[in-house]
Amino acid sequence: MSRSRYSNTDLQIPRSALFWLLGSNVAALLPHSQHLPLWMWGLALFVFIWRGLTHLGRLSYPNRWAKAVAVAAASAAVIVAFDKTFTLESAAAFLIAACLLKLLEMRHRRDGYVVIFLGYFLLGTGFLFDQGILTGLYGILTVWLLTSTLVALHQNSFGHDAGSAQRSRRAAKLAAGILLMSLPLMLVLYLLFPRLAPLWSIALQSGKAKTGLSAEMAAGDIADLSQSDELAFRASFSDGKVPPRDQLYWRALILDNYDGRRWQPSGVTSEVQWYPQSWQPPAEAEGLIRYDIIQESTGETWLFALRGVAAQEDRTGMTMDDRLVARQPLHERRRYQALSWPSVSISEDGLAGLEQRQNLQLPRGRNPQALAWAVQRRAEAGDDASYINALLRHFREQDYYYTLKPPLMGSEEIDDFLFDQRRGFCAHYAGALVFLARAAGIPARVVSGYQGGEWNAADGYLTVRQYDAHAWTEVWLSGQGWVRVDPTAAVAPQRIEFGLERAVAEEGTFLQENLFSPHRFKGVSWLNQLRMEMDSLNYYWQLWVLSYDGKRQKSFLNGWLGLEDYKQGLYVLGGSFGGFFLMASLLVWWRQRPLPLSPFMRSWQRLQDKGLKLGLEPQSGETAANYLHRLAQHCPHQRSLLLWLAAEVNRQLYLPAPDSGRVKQEQRQLIRAMGKIRRQLRRG
């Protein structure tokens, strides 16, 4: 049947839609620019120029061979550019290359569909790399552009009523209308659609190296990390119980194995107890701190928590060495709750043999000077606690310096640092302290994580950035268990009390490699104000939008809508769907309801009905006067009245009185006359 009609999908792409197609796809792939190889832009430019020339009629579409070569070349280029790795970035690059080549060859409307749908998907994959509030806003713009493109693709390009600019404007306006209309339902779905746990674990993850702590630590690592102002996590405390800044030691890793160069986790104490079987502090314990953390993705399983932590959520657990961990590596931002009891004493009765041996381990025959010095100092001190205090005093009173630019140490690292260079960053001090403690027979370990953070008093949350990365130590004292000792606090107390910026102010090395970071300009008050505002905007975005998961959804349903369980949620979901359709049908009915007649017309209608009853059917297209004339023939008794009425109606219709007051008055008279005639009307 449809052979001779041109089917809807075989239509050519309208000329004005081409610009929409090209423009909206550029918009969809712009967020990918960070991880695209440079030649991809070359490909895009090439495609655009070719398409432009085709549009102008200068060049033909690529033929089959050109297409095959282009596909092969682009695939090979992606494989080479990403070094044969299959990561999120290379997958996105494949998708973008496919999209660009499709843009080149598209001809019919169905090619346009493919390009636009790929554009939507590209936008979605863009969100895998960044979910910031600006990306979200940009996403709205892109959705609007892509939807306008879809509208433009269906516009009639043969019509000559409107110029292409006008047509495009109308497409954009219509798309905006559709998108706005779909917002309420989208919100309902967003809030109520069940948030499931991942259905399967995905091997496809970002190959980009993440900034952040690494599992092992060489002395200079944390200093490098301090040059970054990237967000590590945000924390908020319930009940407003914010611990003082010098207690904010966010523990992530225990590094208890030293090979003379690097500190690593030995794994001796990393056995995990998963929630809810894990240890919980007694409910009536003093000084419990409950907090909520939104952690940026790390690609690792460790989470950040204060001392004495207890896991509070499914898929989290705690290790034997008092750390919080997740079951799966964090490839996405994650929000979790934790509970800490900082005053708890850990292992005060003694260490297990293996743990004790591991925390006394030293590389054999290294740093002999430090070894000898430690043994001597330990003997002078008398007991373990005063020995550690003596070490801290040593750091404080001798000319040790805290610097972001530590010199390169020799092969006997600790010796070189302690006795020659005397300049170092937190990792140097922590490493040296642990070495000296172990040398004197005291179990000790390096802890790495973050210290401090920026408190946003207005909105009540703490922002911890990469430059807050820190390393400190824990030593085991009999009767007290593991005790935190931070040598950096002895060398540079400002670091702990005010943060890194103050600590290295004299040196001027704060974010030295990050010239335009807004964090460098905390002194400029309006700039700092602006930065803080932006930061809290982002915080609320993460709090309310990005970290909305199954648990949050449950509490929302419970707290806001008063729903007991999911079944009721489903009813609400179904109800809102029903409501949506009911509203739409009501709208349709309202639009098509018969308009109420004017009194004059109603009276005329009733006269006609009476005529119909007497057997005189009004004919379509018949004038009022004509009908009245026929009626006059039909009912001779009222003939003169009917003829008068015909003349009056005609006058009223075609020669109305000049002022509206008169018109109304005459109409009222006519209505009365019609009523009278109707009642008298009789046949024969």
Partner: protein, 325 residues
């Protein structure tokens, strides 16, 4: 199999006739508009499923948001696609007659609903070419739909289909409208030599200079007079520079004849009508005065365009009753 599908087609037609009765003018509403997702719409659903799986597996809130937004858009698209047809008024105009087998141009008047812009409407009769058109707010658009006629008589065009996928292409909305088209299809003319009616009245061509009818013999040249047919101009003479000269033929203008149904006696009805039609056209072109005799109807000899149309109409309406208008 065919009878079964034929049975269903009949039921479908009856149902349609009840639901959208034939009328001179049809305003589309929810009763007359059909809507279903297109293949593109299904592809869009596949996209949504993929996006949803991505959102779940990566636990990504923004992809969740995008998925739900696009899903809501697809529902809204249903309403917008429906709105694109709803309220549109179609009315048939009066068409010029044509001969059976020719393509008739049926004028169609489209009136937009109040404050509605109907875009990208695809109109056409099944198995006939379609047209794409827009109807702007408060605008009346007239267009001519082509329809290849098959049979003579008052035109039975059947239902015309109006399609639209605007704005997003996810849904196809359509309607089958039957308009009372006021069009006449003349019989397909068949040209055969004249056979004139025998009998006492006008049994042959009378009053013609030549007894052999329909044959025009060259008589000579004369000077061109305004109004002479282009075909009669002696182009060769003109080329030789002898000025405009007209070739003069003997002519039988003013001759009178009767074209009679009965002389075509053994033939079938339609064949007879076709031949009569051919004769009417030939006689008119020759400038004769001709009359037409059909069973139950007789048109007295005359010669004019109106007379020809009357004769052709009589042939077209033969057997349909209805009478003349």
């Amino acid at each position: 199999m065919t009878s079964l599908s034929g049975h269903w087609r009949e039921r479908w037609k009856r149902w349609l006739d009840r639901r959208i009765p034939p009328a001179p003018q049809v305003t589309l509403n929810h009763r007359s508009i059909f809507i279903l997702p297109t293949r593109t719409g299904l592809l869009f659903m596949v996209l949504l499923v993929v996006l949803l799986l991505t959102a779940i597996n990566y636990q990504n809130s923004l992809i969740y948001g995008l998925t739900f937004w696009l899903f809501s858009v697809s529902l809204a698209a249903m309403m917008f696609t429906f709105r694109n047809l709803s309220g549109l008024t179609l009315a048939a105009g009066r068409a010029y007659p044509c001969f059976a087998g020719d393509v008739i141009e049926l004028p169609l008047r489209l009136t937009a609903a109040k404050q509605r812009y109907h875009e990208a409407l695809l109109l056409g009769f099944p198995e006939n070419p379609s047209q794409l058109t827009d109807v702007d707010t408060a605008q009346i658009r007239t267009l001519a739909l082509s329809f290849r006629t098959v049979k003579r008589g008052p035109l039975q065009a059947g239902r015309l289909r109006l399609d639209s996928r605007f704005p997003l292409g996810l849904f196809n909305t359509w309607t089958w409208v039957k308009l009372d088209v006021n069009a006449l299809v003349y019989p397909k003319p068949e040209y055969v030599p004249f056979v004139f009616a025998s009998g006492e009245q006008g049994d042959k061509l009378s009053g013609a200079p030549s007894t052999v009818s329909g044959q025009k013999d060259f008589q000579g040249l004369r000077n061109y007079q305004p109004g002479d047919s282009m075909r009669q101009i002696a182009w060769k003479q003109l080329a030789r520079g002898k000025g405009l000269v007209t070739k003069d033929f003997d002519h039988d203008e003013g001759a009178t004849c009767w074209l009679d149904w009965d002389v075509l006696a053994p033939q079938a009805t339609e064949v007879r009508l076709s031949r009569l039609c051919g004769w009417v056209l030939q006689a008119h072109q020759s400038g004769w005065r001709y009359g037409l005799r059909l069973p139950g109807k007789e048109i007295a000899p005359d010669h004019s365009d109106g007379h020809r149309d009357r004769c052709l109409e009589a042939l077209a309406r033969y057997g349909f009753g209805g009478g003349e208008q």
